[in-house]
């Protein structure tokens, strides 16, 4: 009983981590129809920033905001050049551009942070466990679940319920119309890109306590994030959350019951789901002109 309760909590914690990875990617994809494969690099950058921050003795609770700001700044620069001129292009051009950039960023980070595995010095506050029915569950993961939940709510409110979110969505739906209203849409896109990249960095800072940071992690995260976003259905926020939980539970319980086939089974599950629902779990309403 306790065993399955803890395994469920394990699955929830991993799902939240996947959701965090997917959110930034989903944001630019849904709002700007832009495929950003540098998202894995944003994540790893955030992880490194957090490791350096925590190693420097600065207040530990500022590590996450610091990672968010650093990655957001990088996103802002990328938006100026070269992303902006690719927003209107097809997915192929975007995939190629951002994949090439991610290869460069991976090597630059190796140059800057070294090829060694880095892991953060976590504060003692986050290191304990709670016992649930006699089984241990780490406090760090509880904090992760909490932070992920709060973040998802904040984003949902920001983009779905505020006037500012309405402007973003309107800019995507009909850019020219919004501009005739006197709003600068390129600035709107820049802000969204910065937030999305910042989210990548933020999830990197939150996840580094679990996954550490090392060259190559960027690709692993990118794959997970892509699976989450595509499973959920492009362009929906709820879809990303659903995709993360399905993938997180599938991966966790595949490892509990059939660990030797976990990799294959996870892929099979993704393929089956996408064959059954070719547009993802939560498909946006189709608007074809």
């Amino acid at each position: 009983m306790g065993f399955y309760l803890i395994q469920t909590l394990n699955a929830v914690a991993f799902s939240v981590l996947l959701m965090l990875c997917g959110l930034g990617l989903s944001l630019v994809l849904s709002l700007m129809n832009f495929v950003n494969l540098t998202h894995g690099a944003s994540y790893l950058f955030g992880s490194y920033v957090a490791v350096v921050w925590l190693g420097s003795g600065a207040p530990w609770w500022l590590a996450v905001p610091a990672a968010f700001l650093a990655a957001a700044l990088a996103g802002l620069l990328l938006d100026r050049f070269p992303f902006a001129r690719f927003y209107g292009r097809n997915h192929l051009a975007q995939v190629l551009l951002t994949y090439g950039l991610s290869v460069m960023f991976a090597d630059l980070m190796r140059l800057g942070f070294g090829a060694e595995i880095r892991s953060p010095a976590l504060p003692d506050l986050l290191r304990g466990v709670v016992f649930v029915l006699g089984m241990p569950f780490p406090i760090y993961r509880l904090v992760l679940i909490l932070a992920g939940g709060v973040l998802a709510l904040v984003l949902w409110y920001l983009f779905d319920r505020t006037i500012w979110g309405a402007v973003v969505r309107a800019s995507v739906a009909d850019r020219r119309m919004v501009e005739t209203l006197g709003l600068d849409t390129s600035r709107v896109f820049a802000v969204v890109m910065a937030i999305a990249a910042g989210l990548g960095g933020l999830s990197g800072a939150l996840g580094v306590g679990m996954l550490s940071a090392y060259p190559g992690l960027d690709e692993e995260i990118l794959l997970h994030a892509l699976f989450v976003v595509v499973l959920g259905g492009l362009g929906t926020f709820r879809g990303t959350v659903a995709g993360a939980f399905i993938l997180g539970f599938a991966m966790t319980f595949a490892r509990v019951w059939l660990p030797e086939f976990a990799g294959f089974l996870t892929l099979l599950a993704i393929a089956l789901l996408l064959v059954l629902r070719p547009d993802g779990l939560v498909a946006p309403r189709l608007r074809q002109v």
Partner: protein, 309 residues
Amino acid sequence: MRAHAWLLCLPLAGLLALFGGDYHLRFAAEILITGTAVMSLDILVGQGRLVSLGHAALFGGAAYVSALLAIHAGAGLMPVLLAGIATGMLLALVMGLVATRSVDLFFLILTLVVGQMVYELAFHWRTVTGGADGLRGIPALALHLGGASWPMSGARSLFLLAAGLALLAYLLARSFLAAPIGRALVASREQPVRLAALGYEVRRLRLLAMVFAGGIAGAAGALYPFVNLYVGPNLVHWSMSATMIVMLVLGGVGTLHGAFVGTGLYLLVQTYLSSFTDRWQLLIGLLFVLIVIFLPDGIVRPGWRRRQA
């Protein structure tokens, strides 16, 4: 322009065949074989805008089958080639059935997922595939005709074989694209709705293109194990597919012959630049990004496009 390129290529290949050493001939054979697989990817990417991240699984899957046939059945050139082509087409069919309903990002992810399933199989089915260590001890290639048999193990015969394969595959691909089905594939990229209104089944069209490309990739894969007498799981991993796309873009998407140029460029940079600097990936990434931004048609035909559009 194109005629000039050919006039340049043939004597170059001839010179290499006559005077090249073992190492250079093998290297050239590897470029030609990989280039053939990359060219088959160009049929999908260039004409159909179907960006597949699972193409290495077709190429590498055929390589595994070919290597296994050579090891366990002592198969010669012809059976190995046929088996490779069949494997490539079969895997492409499965991949296509799963993925051709979608385009863009969904197609990319579905081909990636199917390709990674092939990788998981190659990585975990240790008794057959050798798992992470791969397959070694592959016997040298031979051509059996009737009762006679010619060894084709030397670097020179491998090179000539690879060159023959590349040429044949190139001509086949060109005639495929010039045929009505190839034109329809281009139309499916530009105007899928109108094409469907004309009575074409867009999905079947894409499926046919994938199976055709899979056959070529499979033929190339069938020869690949004999260059190194080794096959390993890296060959079917998605990162190999991504590398193939990089090679294609470096040479020029939609030109077919650009695939060979891009493959050669990539492998030369990887082999020689890495002797001088640890930062070769940064340089190749930079080159790639610059090409995507400033030379979207790749390096084989700078500037002039838009003629056929």
